[in-house]
Each structure stands twice: as C-alpha cells, then as structure tokens.
C-alpha cells in the first residue's frame, strides 16, 4: 500500500493568529482612531465609542493579516519578518486568508450596524487601500510605495471622528494629512538602517533604488509640510493654545532630528544613530500630537 507523504498539519496556535494582526502597528492605529473619536465636538456613548474603536482595531488586524498572507514570500527573505507565522511555517496561507477576510468583513458590518454607514465605508476603504493599493499594487513596484500607501495608516482618526459625528470636517482631514506626510520620514528613517533587508527581498524602497543621498533629502522635504500641517489647526482656530504649544515644540524637535538625518552622510561602519533616533521619536511624536489634541479638547 502506498503511504502519502504530506507536511504535518498541526493547527496554528491562537498566538499566531494574534501575531498575524500586527499588534505593534495596531497600537498606533487604535490610539489615533481613539483620539479622532475623542477630539470630535460631541459626547460619545462609551459603549458605542468602545465598539467603534474595536472595529478600527479589528479592521487593522484584518489588513495586517491579509498583508502577511500576500507577502509571506517577501517576509521569508527579510531578517525582520522571517519569524512571522507564515514564513516560519507555523500556519498555512489559507488560514491566514480566511482569518483576514472574516475579521475585516465582521469589523465593517459591525461598524455599519452599530455606529454609522459613513464610518463603515471609510473603514472598508482603509482595509482595501492597505491591502490592494499598497500591498498588492505599489509595494513591489515603486519606491513611492509608502508615500501613497501611507494614506492607509492615515484613515483611523477620520474613522474615529466619523463614528462620533457621522460627518467629516477640516480637523480630521488635517489629522489625515499629518499621518500621510509623517509616513515617508518615519519609514525612510527605518529603511535607512534595514536597507540590506529590503534589498535582499527585492522591495524597491527609496534608499535601495535611489540611494541614501536622495532619501535623506526626501526625509527633509517631507518634514516641512508635515510640521506645517501639525501646527495648522492652532492658527486656523480649530484647536486652542494647549495643542498649539505642544505641536510647535514636538514638531520643532522632529524637524531638528530630520534635519540632522538630511544633512549628514553615511560613514564607514556607521551605526545610523540619528536615523534610529528619528524613527523612534517619530512614533512618540504621533502619540504626543494626538494626545495633545484630546487634552486640548477637554481642558481648554
């Protein structure tokens, strides 16, 4: 009798499903979504507010899972990502696909039924944008991948605001623009010190394709409008002085770190400390700016 040899089919652990949702990325998404919800000029019922944030978190998890499903071949080539459930062989691709589609569909339906259709529509658009426009279309084709793809990460505060008010005004659009313009300096700072990883995987990140000099210049160039957008709500009268002062101080420091990265050249055996500092600070920067927006709304 012939014995069929097949790979061991052990069901994936629940922790692997959790890892598929990229919990680290989700933290920032949930925080900016929550700030969008809290900064809105209406009182939000706690249960509905919690549900809206849950939907944003689930949608972010779904987008992360579908991204890992599509990119498992790329992830296997990169040191930073080869320990993820799919490239490490702890989960089969079909499970990841089903999990991502199921989670995303559930999040959009729940948002539509419990909150409002506008928030559900933007939520669906954000998942599709991240998966189709960024992951499938742009990432492997152009060094502008994270510039346009950055819009996907910029949706959460708009969704939070739309969930609270059922419409979108200038302030959430400025929040969208802020994250959109923040993404290139943030990701290119990271790409500077994991350049070889991206090059090995064949991902056309800007430092790989255009070189470090161009990338440094682009980091500096994108920081200028980003700082302007971050500060803009104050002079436009959309926020008070609390937000304005924090935004000016935090953005000035961001500008300083970005200028340091933009104006230097890579040395032999360079440990890329300014780039690592810019990357680390850029994450804290978003938390500070969005936190200030909420404090300003409740205190001022």
């Amino acid at each position: 009798m012939t014995t069929m040899t097949r790979p061991l089919t052990v069901p994936a652990d629940w922790r692997d499903f959790l890892a598929l949702t990229k919990p680290g990325v989700m933290r920032l998404v949930v925080f900016t979504g929550l700030c969008g919800l809290l900064a809105a000029p209406v009182a939000v019922d706690p249960v509905l507010g919690f549900t809206a944030i849950l939907c944003i978190a689930l949608a972010a998890g779904a987008a992360g899972a579908l991204n890992q499903w599509y990119e498992s071949d790329l992830d296997a080539k990169m040191k930073r990502t080869r320990g993820r459930p799919l490239p490490a062989g702890r989960m089969d691709r079909q499970s990841a696909l089903h999990f991502g589609v199921g989670l995303g569909t559930f999040a959009v339906i729940l948002m539509g039924l419990a909150i409002n259709l506008l928030a559900a529509a933007i939520l669906a658009a954000s998942i599709l944008f991240y998966v189709v426009i960024y992951t499938v279309w742009l990432k492997r084709r152009t060094p502008q991948n994270i510039v346009i793809g950055g819009a996907a990460g910029a949706f959460p505060p708009v969704i939070g605001w739309a969930a609270a008010t059922d419409h979108v005004t200038a302030l959430p659009l400025l929040m969208f623009a802020l994250i959109f313009l923040w993404t290139p300096p943030h990701f290119w700072a990271l790409a500077m010190f994991v350049k070889s990883d991206y090059a090995n995987a064949g991902v056309p990140m800007l430092p790989v394709v255009a070189g470090e000099r161009v990338t440094r210049a682009q980091i500096g160039l994108y920081t200028i409008p980003m700082v302007a957008v971050a500060v803009a709500p104050w002079p436009l009268g959309l926020t008070h002085a609390i937000y304005g002062i924090v935004a000016v101080a935090a953005s000035a420091f961001f500008g300083l770190l970005a200028f340091r990265v933009a104006s230097r050249r890579t040395q032999t055996n360079d440990r890329m400390r300014p780039e690592k500092q810019l990357f680390a600070y850029s994450i804290a920067y978003l938390f500070v700016i969005f936190g200030a927006l909420v404090v300003d709304r409740f205190v001022a």
Partner: protein, 55 residues
C-alpha cells in the same frame, strides 16, 4: 493500469496528537471567550440603541 493510490490519513505520533489536541482545546477556549464577549457587547449596543431611539 493501476488506479490511484487509496487515500490514507496522515499518521501522527502520540506527541503530535497531543499537540494537536492541546491546540484545538486552546483555540476552542479562546473562541468561546470571544463569542461570550460579543454576546455581552451586542446586548449593551442594543440597550444603547433602544435608549437613544436610533435605528
């Protein structure tokens, strides 16, 4: 001409079987917890919708 080989279920060792059972149990527990949490959430959403008179 010989026909296709008869299908044979994958053979697992006792340790592998134990691992599979353990994974199934933990996933079932997590699923039950999540479903329970969703029931509670849907209850409170319904109460809020009724209270505020929104559809």
């Amino acid at each position: 001409m010989p026909g296709p080989a008869p299908f044979e279920w994958e053979k697992h060792t006792a340790e592998e079987n134990e691992l599979i059972r353990r994974r199934q149990r933990s996933r079932a527990r997590i699923t039950a917890l999540l479903l329970g949490a969703l029931v509670i959430l849907f209850f409170f959403i319904s109460i809020e919708k009724i209270r505020s008179g929104t559809p």
